[in-house]
Symmetry: D2
Subunit: 294 residues, 4 copies
């Protein structure tokens, strides 16, 4: 079952105390998620503040999490440098990561075109020990990998899927119509969980799953039971929450929501800052309206 | 039934001969569409090259089309100026337009915020003789009206719907969950026809419906019969065609495709230019692959 | 001397009372500007809220202003439609406009390329009775006409200049090096008045000149006297003011500043709104710091 | 003299042979630059393909270059992670780097605001052994640090300057008017070398200086002699060249031009690709037109 990658994966946030990684709290959160029917976790994805972690911290996170779970671990090991990406991925694999989630290279934005994506992903996939999932997230990279590149890359034996964090599910359906059915399409934001699954996605890597794993699972399961009305109803209730913990309040909002829901959220790492009092009040109202807190 | 606005509406292109409006060819196209189960038409929408038409030409188009159909006519009468919008809309209404499709004001992009949208749409809706449909099309306006504004405006008695031309169907589901069920949500691009309808839209105003009305109707009808697989299959086949006649080749591509499919397409108006030979060949291949031509 | 277009031109704001054009106040402002060594005025430019004016209102403005001045009048008559642009320009010319300031067409943003600019400007220039000044203002149009197009168009006998409202003076120097010296380059924002003149511009059409005409003239004159230090000093003092009445507070800010400086500013037209109390206080502080008010 | 940072600095490209750093060719290029009156060099800046280098490769570059020059070395050691930035900077400093050029953090683009810039730069500056130069380059980061942040940061004893790679020299003049005169403003692109120096910049870090160091020095020196006409003439001749080796053809173009001019350029590192034949021909024509090659 693990191999199907079906289901909902939370991209774990990285807890900090005094601006240093708190592995204890990472494990405490993990143990709560182990009670849910989540097939696995993403480590140091965008919301894991990967950008602010050192190489050593990333590897330690793999070690600590692997000590406490047998589930699938997907590690966010992509960097602009092909060499560094390969080294980091293989080091993470040796410590227990099962898949590598590789963000599109993006420093030279205007030059990242079809051939460059093929160059990059082929080189990386050829040299890493674990399967590669392409990660497309224009809101952070200002790069949007085209469908043609994905389709072409999908035939590489070690490139097994795509996490797409645009809000455009027609990308999912278009790609899904043209790739082998074994290629895994994963939505990267809860706002298109419903439409994405209906368009051919097999699961979601969702910031929202850090705070509302049950609701994400319900949407997923209701769709599989073809109870679309119920799925849509929950999805609609979650949209303002999802926006609050992503575009509106960012990682700081996601972590504050975790604190409100009994997980350890804490502050984001510098240079990010925690929510202001006013933002926190607004966040509470949004969670209340969605019946996540009382 | 007309009042439900359910179904598929082609935004009619405006034929030109020697850079002047050819009303004869407009009517010839119209008569072909009258054979399809299309509830109505959009006149001088974006793809009708509204931006290049004079006020008089717009009004003449309403007159000519009304002479040859009893179906719903939705006129694209929105301009930045509230005054001009009201005058033009009422003149179009007197000539037979049933609804006004009013694009978001956009000249002062960075200043178009919640209050400004409320100001604009309330003023216009108060003073026009026909119901108003809000038209959101960021790819042309660089303005994206927020859901909150839509929801607030939906309570105005003369604002009856939204055409949303983003590719993000979560906007549809989110708004649909918060507005009165009589408020009509219409997708503005065929790439989200399938997911949009599944998210609460009641129809589509689709450039693609100018060249593939049958396929658009099939997608729409298969969804209503809950035959999602079939709907998705046709949608996926149409996505490359839709892209070709919108983002890839623009109005010139749409018109060239019309010519290839037996309608009168012709050239776009200056300053736009017809497709190059190479583009035309590419377009033919795309239409062939989608089985629209042989 | 008029023909050189050298110097500083305020793009006159359009006063409104109860959301209707107040010609009386327009004339009152004008008479104050007549005391300054300004060679002329721009009528219904971007800051004249052209986007919100009807065709009739624009023509009346030409008439009223022409009744009270013998100076150069540059009318902002550009629209996406070539036909409407020609009609409006010629009507304005008959009423006393000396030059037409023609904004780049922009509705089909992604399709406005070299050939389309040539098509558009050549057609318009061929058919209007007064000389044409190209107007490039990406912050409102999201279109940035390329230097090559400008250089090619500069050889048209009726295209006599460019107003460039980017903040990039290397465009000025690059174009200036390649066009006939009779082609007039005009900066469109006070933030590059100093560097623009040093790069080959012969003047400026500046929102700032509505409220600080003396300072704009001083910058201009100090440069001509090669007193660069003094010019730069005044320019630097004016930059925060210029930002306040353009990108920061928009037309509402410009009009509020006019009120504070003894002109008639008033409210912008709907859907724009006047400044809030807090914004007004901030604006006053900015004007005070720049020694424009006490 | 070194401390003034006045003058022209080439951001050295990184030569690759078979996709591996060629230190020999790096040194060969360096020795040619040592014949010019360049006060120093930037190591692994954007055009040094820093994004594609490993940590070890960066440090080896410092070692190798320091072995062959006594001039100022400015190292591009900024990363999103504050921790990694500090470690890398101090390791580079120990190997001979004199200044750290620290790019704005940019992963969470929409959240990089005033406070976050203060957090980031203060933390980094507090902990590094060499002086910090802020590096603003929106074309790569999609982040544009505001003038207020720069002005506030300029009072930190270890933050000594700004490299600004926008094409907007009014940023230079505005900041220059508000910071201590010891704070060094450096333009980051040759297109505003002329206007930037006239606005208060004391030098330039210029991709163009890799291929046309003499011309860059001439522009700089003519301005200091107040021979503006001559400076502007050379600047205008260089603008098409500068565009070719930056926005038009990127690093591949810069390296191809180096090859044509007797330096070792070679291919950019994967995933970038060398110029096509057609691009190479165009590049040659541009260099010929500017009299850089025959």
């Amino acid at each position: 079952m693990a191999d199907t990658l079906k289901g909902i994966y939370p991209p774990l946030t990285t807890p900090f105390i005094d601006d240093e990684v708190s592995f204890d709290n990472l494990v405490l959160n993990l143990l709560r998620y182990e009670n849910k029917l989540l097939p696995g976790y993403v480590l140091f994805g965008s919301n894991g503040e990967s950008a602010f972690l050192t190489r050593d911290e990333k590897l330690q996170i793999v070690v600590k999490v692997r000590e406490h779970t047998k589930r699938i671990l997907i590690a966010g090991t992509g960097l602009d440098s092909i060499k560094e990406t390969i080294y980091l991925t293989n080091d993470a694999a040796e410590r227990g990561a099962n898949y590598a989630l590789i963000i599109t290279p993006s420093f030279f934005k205007s030059e990242m075109k079809h051939h460059n994506f093929l160059n990059y992903y082929t080189r990386v996939a050829d040299s890493i020990m674990i399967p590669l999932i392409i990660y497309n997230v224009p809101k952070f990279t200002n790069v949007n990998i085209d469908s043609e590149s994905i389709i072409e890359l999908s035939s590489h034996p070690n490139i097994i899927g795509l996490k797409d964090s645009t809000e455009n599910p027609s990308r999912i359906s278009e790609i899904s119509a043209k790739v082998d059915s074994a290629f895994k399409l994963i939505v990267g934001t809860a706002s298109i969980l419903y439409t994405g699954i209906l368009s051919g996605a097999i699961g979601g890597i969702l910031a929202l799953a850090n705070i509302a794993p049950d609701q994400c699972l319900q949407i997923f399961n209701f769709i599989r039971e073809r109870n679309f009305e119920k799925a849509l109803e929950i999805q609609n209730r979650m949209i303002p929450v999802n926006r609050a913990v992503t575009s509106k309040f960012g990682v700081a909002g996601l972590k504050a929501a975790m604190d409100l829901l009994g997980y350890f959220g804490g502050h984001p790492r510098l240079p990010l800052e925690p929510l202001s009092e006013a933002q926190l009040i607004e966040l509470k109202m949004i969670l209340k309206k969605a019946s996540l807190i009382e």
